[in-house]
Amino acid sequence: MIKAVLIMNTQGKPRLTKFYEFLPVERQQEAIHNVFAVLCSRPEHVSNFVNAESIFGPDARLVYKHFATLYFVFIFDSSENELAILDLIQVFVETLDKCFRNVCELDVVFNYSKIHTILDEIIFGGQVLETSSAEVMKAVEEISKLEAASNAINLVPKSVSGWRTR
């Protein structure tokens, strides 16, 4: 099971956090802080695996990938395969890339809810449900449409429209 997904930049600022096991926010922040402390101490071109038991308890593994100014971090347990999760990070990033065309840190910063939507298509309650980025894109687009449609009505608040037609 996947315990958490984090995106943070190379300064240690979290850009996305998603925990699939409930943790109080203070503990979340502490964990993010500790993860960053480990990551930034690692040289380039070393393995992508970190022992995370000291941060997330027994049987916790951490896989991260460094893209430009961002760390993508997945924390999971022994029910997942390390290399498969590494591939999954790749799928996630590819999907982001397709959505935003050459994704960069700013896209992640400004599209908080869309990134969550994408992630939720891939991982559901800690389980990986979709590994095809095309499928993810399809669903995300539909959801966006649906959101836009429900918001469009809302551009003019009900009370205002009522007042106009009077």
Partner: protein
């Protein structure tokens, strides 16, 4: 529209128009006008206002901002829980999505408002919009509580056969959480979950094997009957993700059933051979080396693959290759030895993961024959490495070499000098461990003491080492060794100077106290030697001596009996101590044995006295009591001896002979006290002392503080390792001394008596005292075992220690004897049996699997596992008396009887007929189970605890 509502809506228009969206918020946070905390508190003020708005758009935007702040900046959003519920119930999809997202993010078992969302979830689970269903399922997957899981099980059950893959795969995923929270859901949903294994839609299979992989990792045995299904997937599936999960499942199942292992080993190897995906290949390797390691050919194939991994460019693959090697090392050491070069090479990899993994492997290769070689290589690596890895190396050397009481060490002289060498490595921070081992070896291995003293001396005389904080503990051990085994020292005076060198003021007081005490021991040793040289064999003296000695021993024994932790060594002491010849031997033999320049001259003694007075004189006003007391003792003793022996004209032996005899008797006595061997203390010594009747250990001892207030604190006993007790008042005549020894404890006991009179509650009953001091209770003392009810005590009994092994000199054996307490001196490592965490869940799974797949006949044949889970669930769910009649109710009804939520109950009533029709099959089975449960509850539960042997025949024949 009423006027009031229009005014509120006009307010909301204003809110709406001027509200910052999430994007505005993020933008402003990046402008850096305000420091972060000010920005956040501004935003929070805003959000708190907006979230109370009646306009759903304003409210949901505020909630979205709050979710953002919570997840990125760690703001607690529990205050908004009710608003989350409101936003969830909005009819607009965009609002609903924000609401559900916030609920998934912030709701947990103890969120009070979670009780309110049941109906909303039920409604959305039945929605025709599949994305709404998905939102509800996701919320359930992240935040389901027992109540939610129980109340929404029927909806999840329905969705498990939804025609839309998008929904069905999520329904499968949510089952994991539902089962975990509400194991009875297994009875409803399990069959349909298994059916989904046969689905033709790949995403569904991905989801189902994922769920089973999770379930099987918690309690694999319950899922053995599903082996054929998994086997089919292993053979047929082409999806790597699915195969990884199935291989993982088999890794859990195979160790439980050897016939299954035999069956799957070929397919797994096939997959390993033909797959191009490294992830799947590695998973197969891992499964073979962990769960199928008895199958020679499979292991060989896996090893081939591991070798390929080890030479890859990608550090990830090399790391995993090493990991696989460590998994295989327990059963097939040859695999590691074959790859020795790759492993050693990895020690200097730049990747810390790889370094640590290879270090672990190198340590696994260590054996009696190569320990010296490997340690030399590793110490060289340690010298070159960064501090972290250096200490990692040192730690693992120390751990490996000391395993099982230095099992692999043959040459202790070498090991002791290695310890000395390791102490001098600049980055060494393992002071504590080295300290322990130096002392431990001193106590256990007589033959290593010479080397120990030599290493200790080298450490002590180096003034540079005193400046290193991490070395203080090692120096403490070195000082203790030097004092305790001074008879091995080639030059005691040099040791004395080292112990009293000026830079010792850099040491913490507790270690300084050890230094002073060791100096005292050395002083006594020198004086004793000096006297022996001068006197030869004085007849009057030895008579005196023999008498005094036995008295001393008795006195010592009685003082020791008072403090329990020390009494461990008592037997040993008695053996040595009751035979005066023995102790004489020990102090006389050794100087002969390795006397280098042991001629103690008058001048050297005088200079030592002067040195002591010079250095320790100022310390008699030291602030620390340990240092102060010890310094005073030594200085007072020096004064005494100096006056008695040396102020007279020493040349005139005849005149001062009488006085000499008295002083030398004192010195002899102390010397004897010091030369008594210190034994090992079993770590369970204290716990083995039976708690006397009437002593309540767990009583609140708060009022003890008031009592302690009026008595002085005992100011000794914290002295680290040397446990000798000696009285501080020395008299010139030995008879007086004996009295003094006697009166010391006597005084103490009178004041103790008084104290006891006042606060009798905290004392052991007096008659028990004798029993306790007498000896330890025998191993299988019925009294003791009657006390045993928790594990800790059980453990103590397991590690029950017999008497110390006596050393037998055996010249033929190259390895020196290492004294061991039978199991009593090493912290026992118990292999923890993995206990199935949720009994109730696996019990329920068993019920369903056995019930549905092998028909009622077999389910009746082994009723033992049926009620186990069920009974427990009942206990958990309904707190009232488990009366049989109540349990006859349909399962879904029963737990609700105590539910707080009346409205839910009503609803379920209305629904229940439909359910019963739908799940008629299950209810039928339940009826049968119930009849089988009417055997005595006791009996069944007891049997349920035993391993389920009856389970194995359930695997279908084709697999076996």
């Amino acid at each position: 529209m009423t006027s009031s509502s229009s005014s509120s809506s006009s307010n909301s228009i204003m809110d709406n128009l001027f509200q910052r969206t999430l994007e505005d918020l993020i933008k402003s946070s990046r402008l850096n006008f305000l420091p972060e905390h000010a920005f956040i508190s501004n935003a929070m003020d805003e959000i708190r206002k907006e979230i109370k708005s009646t306009d759903p758009h304003t409210k949901s935007t505020a909630l979205q901002k709050l979710s953002y702040l919570s997840s990125i900046h760690g703001i607690d959003m529990s205050f908004a829980a009710f608003h989350v519920v409101e936003v969830m119930s909005s009819s607009r999809f965009s609002h609903k999505k924000i609401g559900y997202g916030a609920a998934s993010q912030s709701f947990h078992d103890s969120t009070p408002v979670i009780l309110l969302i049941t109906n909303q979830l039920r409604k959305d689970l039945k929605s025709s919009n599949l994305f709404e269903v998905s939102l509800a399922l996701e919320c359930l997957a992240n935040a389901a509580t027992l109540d939610l899981a129980r109340d929404l099980t029927p909806e999840v059950f329905t969705l498990l056969s939804s025609s839309k893959v998008y929904v069905r795969k999520r329904a499968v995923g949510v089952v994991l959480r539902v089962f975990e929270k509400y194991p009875d859901a297994v009875r409803v949903c399990f069959k349909r979950l298994v059916e989904n294994l046969e689905s033709l839609d790949p995403p569904i299979v991905v989801a189902v094997v994922g769920v089973f992989c999770e379930l099987a990792s918690k309690d694999p045995r319950a899922y053995l009957p599903l082996a054929p299904e998994f086997y089919r997937i292993l053979i047929d599936s082409k999806n790597n993700w699915v195969l990884i999960k199935v291989v993982k499942i088999f890794a859990k199942l195979a160790p439980l059933e050897p016939r299954l292992a035999k069956r799957i080993v070929e397919p797994v190897c096939d997959v390993m051979r033909r797959t191009g995906a490294k992830s799947l290949m590695f998973e197969c390797v891992r499964t073979v080396v962990t769960s199928l390691s008895d199958h020679e050919s499979a292991v060989k194939l896996a090893v081939e693959k591991i070798r390929e991994l080890l030479v890859e460019q990608d550090p990830n693959l090399r790391y995993l290759g090493l990991q696989a090697l460590s998994a295989v090392v327990g059963k097939h050491l040859w695999v590691v030895l074959e790859n020795k070069e790759a492993v050693i090479k990895s020690l200097s990899d730049e990747d810390p993961n790889i370094k640590i993994e290879s270090l672990r492997l190198v340590m696994a290769m260590v054996s009696e024959s190569n320990v010296e070689e490997i340690c030399r290589v590793l110490v060289n690596y340690a010298l070159k490495s960064d501090p972290d890895f250096c200490n990692e190396i040192l730690g693992s050397i120390l751990e490996t070499c000391s395993r099982n009481v230095y099992e692999i060490i043959v040459d202790f002289d070498w090991y002791v000098s290695l310890l000395g060498e390791m102490s001098r490595i600049p980055n060494c921070q393992k002071g504590e461990e080295i300290e322990n081992q130096l002392i431990d070896i001193g106590l256990r291995v007589k033959d290593a003491r010479l080397a120990l003293v030599r290493v200790g001396r080298d450490l002590l005389i180096d003034p540079a080492l005193l400046g290193n904080l991490y070395l203080h503990r090692i120096l403490c051990a070195a000082a203790w060794v030097a004092g305790e085994y001074v008879e091995f020292a080639s030059n005691p005076f040099q040791l004395m100077e080292a112990l009293l060198q000026p830079r010792t003021n850099l040491l913490p007081p507790s270690i300084r106290a050890v230094y002073i005490h060791s100096a005292f021991k050395i002083l006594i040793f020198c004086l004793d030697n000096y006297l022996m040289q001068n006197e030869g064999a004085a007849s009057s003296y030895s008579n005196n001596m023999a008498g005094g000695d036995s008295v001393l021993v008795i006195g010592k024994k009685s003082t020791e009996a008072l403090d329990l932790p020390n009494t461990e060594g008592q037997n040993y002491d008695q053996d040595e101590g009751f035979n005066p010849r023995n102790t004489n031997e020990s102090s006389e033999d050794f100087p002969v044995g390795n006397n280098v320049d042991r001629v103690v001259t008058h001048e050297s003694i005088v200079s030592v006295f002067n040195l002591i007075e010079l250095v320790l004189g100022p310390l008699t006003a030291n602030q620390d009591v340990e240092v102060l007391e010890r310094a005073r003792n030594v200085v007072a003793f020096v004064h005494l001896v100096k006056v008695e022996i040396f102020d007279d004209s020493v040349q005139n032996v005849d005149i001062s002979k009488k006085k000499d005899a008295q002083v030398s008797a004192v010195i002899k006595l102390i010397c004897n006290a010091f030369s008594m061997e210190l034994g090992l203390v079993s770590i369970s010594a204290q716990s083995r002392v039976a708690v006397p009747d009437g002593l309540v250990l767990k009583e609140n001892l708060d009022d003890l503080q008031a009592i302690c207030g009026d008595t002085e604190l005992p100011s000794s006993c914290s002295f680290g390792v040397g446990g000798h007790h000696f009285d501080t008042t020395f008299d010139t005549s030995s008879s007086n001394l004996v009295k003094g020894e006697d009166s010391g404890p006597a005084n103490e006991s009178t004041s103790l008596l008084e104290h006891r009179k006042r606060h009798g509650l905290y004392y052991l009953p007096s008659e028990k005292n004798d029993i306790v001091s007498d000896n330890y209770p025998p191993a299988n003392d019925p009294e003791l075992s009657s006390n045993i009810n928790d594990e800790a005590e059980n453990l103590a009994r397991l590690t029950e220690q017999s008497l110390l092994l006596k050393k037998k000199p055996n010249q033929m054996k190259p390895r020196p004897v290492v004294v061991k307490l039978d199991d009593g001196d090493v912290a026992p490592i118990l292999v923890k049996k993995p206990e199935p965490r949720d009994d109730s869940l696996s019990g329920a799974v068993r019920d369903v699997l056995l019930g549905s797949e092998t028909g009622p006949s077999s389910s009746r044949s082994n009723p033992s596992d049926k009620p186990s889970g069920k009974a427990k669930e009942k206990k958990k769910l309904s707190t009232d008396l488990p009366s049989e009649t109540k349990e006859q109710l349909p399962d879904l009804e029963n737990p609700n009887s105590r539910s707080k939520n009346r409205s839910h109950k009503k609803e379920r009533r209305r629904r229940s007929p439909g359910n019963i029709v739908e799940e008629g099959e299950e209810h039928d089975q339940k009826g049968k189970k119930k009849s089988s449960r009417s055997h005595g509850k006791h009996k069944t539960r007891q049997r349920a605890n035993s391993p389920l042997n009856s389970q194995t025949p359930v695997i279908p024949d084709f697999l076996l």
